[in-house]
């Protein structure tokens, strides 16, 4: 077991290292010179050289990479060129917004997808069951980008009930100690603040969560269908247990593993989706910031953010693997 864990950790490190190399090489072939965008019109060549040296852009490529890696291992991600601030600090402020959004979307998708799958299993004898499949098929095909704008039209224009951008209404004058607005306002019982954060989160959360909910529905429904014809379920049925109890207590427990594994993979896609969805709703997370960083050719910030995304993906994958092993006793002895 420890061997497997160690193996996975080494693999994760190798993957992250690969991500670092690719991003680094990619950014060094960028035609636009980031320094050219920062200098004032009257700058002398000496000023430019000094600036270049300040951001470490004067050394050769392997040396630059080496220095960058060494600094990152020390926790120093450099200084953002466009924001003139410590990259780690900015990321620390923005990452919680993305994490709250991603987890809210995940919880929403799991609850909705799970509820529909259980409901569909309960009514599988009825004639409306194929209708659920058809609607679910439709939801499977529609990506977050389309959902986001459909929601903008629906709740922003036709029934303007939800805010179109931002994370909280600044006129409320709410102050937060941590960047985890939702968590903090809930823990400190400031429910009006929490409600406002949730209202701002609602549309991006729906856009990210609805496609995932459709996937969860499909896989869980399939697993439940298989579980419902297993001997132990049939036996429980003969004992006269109610159908709802059967589905929730017996079938669900055994059907959860494949859904869990798939949800993990899909959750990494959802995190990737935050990039464009945050952009659409001007939500102040790392995805939105990453797009700005690319447009501004802010090399240190792009590098830092890409590594954060890579690390997030790897952490999610490893967590899911661990959960799958924990929920399936047969895998534990490996």
């Amino acid at each position: 077991m420890t061997l497997v864990v160690a193996q996975r950790l080494i693999m994760a490190a190798v993957t992250l290292f690969g991500v670092a190399i690719i991003v680094f090489v990619l950014l060094r072939v960028v035609p636009g010179d980031p320094i050219a965008m920062m200098i004032s019109p009257g700058a002398t060549p000496a000023d430019i050289a000094a600036l270049r040296a300040h951001y470490g852009l004067d050394a050769n490529l392997p040396a630059q990479f080496f220095v960058w890696m060494k600094n990152i291992l020390r926790g120093d991600f450099g200084t953002s060129i466009s924001l003139h601030r410590n990259v780690l600090e900015i990321m620390g402020e923005r990452l919680p917004a993305t994490l709250e959004l991603a987890f809210a979307s995940l919880v929403f998708a799991a609850l909705l997808g799970g509820a529909i799958a259980v409901f569909a299993t309960l009514i599988s004898d009825w004639s409306v069951a194929p209708l659920i499949d058809a609607i679910n098929g439709l939801f499977l095909a529609v990506p977050d980008f389309i959902w986001a704008f459909a929601l903008v039209l629906l709740f922003g224009v036709f029934f303007p009930v939800l805010p179109l951008s931002g994370r909280i209404d600044p006129s409320l004058g709410e102050r937060f100690v941590t960047p985890f607005y939702l968590l903090e306002s809930l823990v400190t019982f400031r429910f009006s603040a929490a409600a406002d954060v949730l209202r701002h989160m609602a549309m991006p959360m729906l856009a990210l969560g609805l496609p995932l909910a459709a996937i969860i529905t499909r896989v869980l429904k399939e697993s439940l269908r298989e579980a419902m014809v297993q001997d132990y379920v049939l036996l429980a049925r003969l004992k006269g247990l109610s159908r709802l109890r059967l589905v929730l207590k017996d079938a669900l427990r055994n059907a959860i593993a494949p859904t869990l594994a798939l949800t993990g993979v899909q959750f990494t896609f959802l995190i990737g989706g935050t990039v464009i969805v945050e952009r659409i709703f001007a939500y102040p997370g790392i995805g939105n910031m990453a797009v700005d960083a690319v447009i501004n050719r802010d090399l240190p910030l792009i590098q830092g953010l890409t590594l954060v995304f890579g690390a997030l993906f790897i952490v999610v994958n490893m967590t899911v693997d661990a959960l799958v092993v924990l929920t399936n006793p047969r895998l534990r002895s490996v």
């Binding site: 993957t15 960028v30 035609p31 095909a141 990506p143 980008f145 990039v275 890579g310 993906f313 790897i314």
Partner: protein, 290 residues
């Protein structure tokens, strides 16, 4: 299980045409293709022609609509319907070219990894894993920013990102096929490895590959729209659905139709590619059809 032998083209075609998903999805794509090809003749107006007096007129059937502007106009007085038709050109070009190239690259690497195993497989699989640790949208924006905006860059970005989808599936499929009797037979006859890969295994991987290409086309249309939305696709004087969406988002409260029209076009196109892909997977696969 019997080995699926070569089937007549006619039989395969009949299976496809008999599948409602293929008919509906393929039919819509065909319709779109005709629109794109005949855009100069079909579009009622010049998609770039501005008429500031007729700016922000609503679609036909709404109060204040102008005759001749079926889907209304944008803030510059350009005909939304004509722009929609012209926008299908970029969407379909990117869909067909990017998906085909990604399929070629991904399938080639997948075949190699699945057939040779060993270090080839280890290398390719590791590469796929590193690739999957990037958020695809961020990577595509990054790539296009590096290469410079334009249709070519958008296509290149999609190919460079999405080859992994094909690689993973083809690799797994090839591994399965490599164990089958017909491959053993081909080996015992003394066929070369290349010949077995290209002439024996590839045709058997083809059904799932074709279905994947159709799904990828839907993804490519979305990615193009996303890049247009961010402002990294073609220049702004070429009408694209993503560009129209970006414009519509900005003038949301003056004219919702500028956003709604391209969004619906995008939705229907993605849905059609999905239906076609699912239908093809079902009707091309002899095992699944049984």
């Amino acid at each position: 299980m019997s080995v699926p032998g070569p089937r007549g083209i006619g039989k395969t075609l009949r299976a496809c045409v008999g599948d409602p998903k293929v008919v509906v999805g393929g039919g819509f794509i065909l319709f779109l293709l005709i629109l794109a090809l005949c855009a100069p003749g079909l579009a009622p107006k010049d998609p770039l022609e501005q008429d500031l007096i007729l700016g922000v007129t609503p679609p036909h059937g709404f109060a204040g609509a102008e005759p001749g502007y079926l889907l209304g106009t944008d803030d510059l007085g350009r005909d939304v319907f004509s722009r929609l038709i012209w926008g299908s050109r970029i969407a379909l070009t990117v869909a067909f070219v990017a998906a085909s190239l990604a399929a070629v690259l991904g399938a080639a690497l997948g075949l190699l990894a699945g057939w040779y195993r060993g270090w080839v497989d280890a290398l390719i699989s590791r590469l796929v894993e590193v690739w999957m640790a990037f958020p695809p949208v961020l990577l595509s924006i990054l790539l296009v920013a590096v290469v410079g905006a334009g249709v070519g860059s958008v296509i290149a970005a999609i190919v460079i990102i999405d080859w992994t989808r094909f690689c993973r599936v083809v690799r797994a499929e090839t591994m399965g096929q490599a164990k089958s009797d017909y491959v053993a037979a081909a080996r015992s006859i003394g066929f070369s490895q290349m010949r077995i890969l290209v002439r024996e295994i590839l045709p058997n991987v083809m059904p799932i590959l074709i279905a994947l290409i159709s799904l990828e086309m839907g993804i490519a249309v979305i990615v193009e729209a996303i890049l247009s939305f961010v402002g990294l696709s073609v220049s702004s004087d070429v009408p694209t659905w993503g560009g129209m969406i970006a414009q519509g988002r900005q003038m949301l409260h003056q004219g919702w139709w500028v956003l709604a029209a391209p969004l619906i076009a995008l939705f229907l196109t993605v849905l059609a590619f999905n239906l076609l892909g699912e239908g093809l997977r079902r009707s091309l696969d002899p095992v699944m059809r049984r």
